[in-house]
Symmetry: C2
Subunit: 199 residues, 2 copies
DNA sequence: TTAATATGTGAATATTGATTCACATGAGGC
DNA sequence: GCCTCATGTGAATCAATATTCACATATTAA
């Protein structure tokens, strides 16, 4: 084992990152304290210097994901101010994020992590609801500016927006990569787009 | 414990049913051989008279779900021959099925069950792909009959169809029932409907 | 009625994984 | 350079869980 010692902040990040990657590779069942530690290059018991227990580790993985989701939304909002274009870019960024990290999908939508942990479930729910709220806000903005049909319910549409990606992502995963998410999203977007757009 | 003895066919069904309900109540982590047996009213070791091991039990739970999904599609096809109406009815039937049995969502889309079991993952993929194919066929039919826009890709649209329900179902689950799936689907359907419909 | 067999029981086993703890040691402040 | 403390180690413990097996008993067919 490497006998280097790092301060807790850095190690915590390493552990969270390692855990997320591990879930991508082997699923949640493969996520043991031992496997995470091995991936970081340390011994299982070392983890307890930085996390009270395994649950605390999982919480920090969720924080990691939370950060990435919102970073995506931030970037997109900086790239353009056109609402419909923002949505398109966010869609593509989301696809990229999920493709590059299977673990995200598995962790966010796994009941294993939530069942018996109401606080964590609530935390994830807040995270997803927050993301959807940002999408809904973009849509509202588009309505105010007259590019999007006014009779559409932004909250409803934001969930439909998620519906462009999510089932596709799950199929991609389930089919072990055979199902082409990117292609699906590229074909689905114009259809959704023309439902939103004010002619 | 009840000392009644039942033939293997009946017991197998009882176990599968019990397992599915248990997942709905406590998530996949709560699905132990012991808990399933207790729910059936037997002792853990008794399960091995009917299943080679726990995996065989899980396989039979998947068969159970498979049956229910297709039963839904069959019913709907018997109720009407109008393609767009078939889709609407199937959507509602699907919502009902999922609401009445949280376990389905958890089992079908849980990586826990699939990781390390390529055969089972393939089996579930076949099941979902088969269901989507039926949806795609309804759409093709609608195109042939002239009710649905001909330039829509049925396979693509069938995944979008799934996208009307699936994220909503997951949000419903994640929010512990706060998110209203039925309401979402009722609002999302007309939007999807008008994307498909030939004016 | 009885013999044969399928089904159920309870105890034992083996494995896996989280967690604890006494001890070791590297890094940073003095 | 030395001291102290945070960090890392290795072994031990504890709990959960799947699985096996010898034994018991209900069901069924003859």
């Amino acid at each position: 084992m490497a006998l280097e010692k790092l301060n807790s902040g850095i190690r915590q990040d390493q552990y969270a990152e390692a855990a997320l990657n591990l879930v991508a590779l082997e699923g949640l069942k493969g996520l043991s304290v031992a496997s995470v530690a091995r991936r970081v290059g340390l011994v299982p018991s070392a983890l307890y210097r930085h996390f009270r227990n395994k649950d605390a580790l999982l919480d920090s993985v969720i924080d990691l994901i939370h950060g990435r989701l919102h970073a995506n939304a931030d970037t997109v909002c900086r790239q353009t101010s056109d609402p419909l274009e923002r949505l398109r870019l966010l869609l593509m960024a989301h696809v990229r994020l999920i493709r590059e990290n299977k673990g995200i999908l598995r962790i966010v939508f796994s009941d294993e992590l939530h069942n018996g942990f109401p606080e964590r479930k609530a935390q994830v729910w807040q995270m997803v609801a927050g993301y959807l709220k940002r999408v809904a806000d973009i849509i509202s903005q588009g309505q105010k500016e007259g590019q999007i049909q006014p009779d559409i319910d932004p909250d409803n549409a934001s969930v439909m927006f998620l519906g462009l990606i999510q089932p596709a992502a799950i199929l991609w995963n389930l089919s072990s990569g055979k199902f082409d998410v990117t292609r699906h999203v590229q074909k689905a977007w114009p259809i959704f787009y023309s439902s939103l757009k004010k002619e």
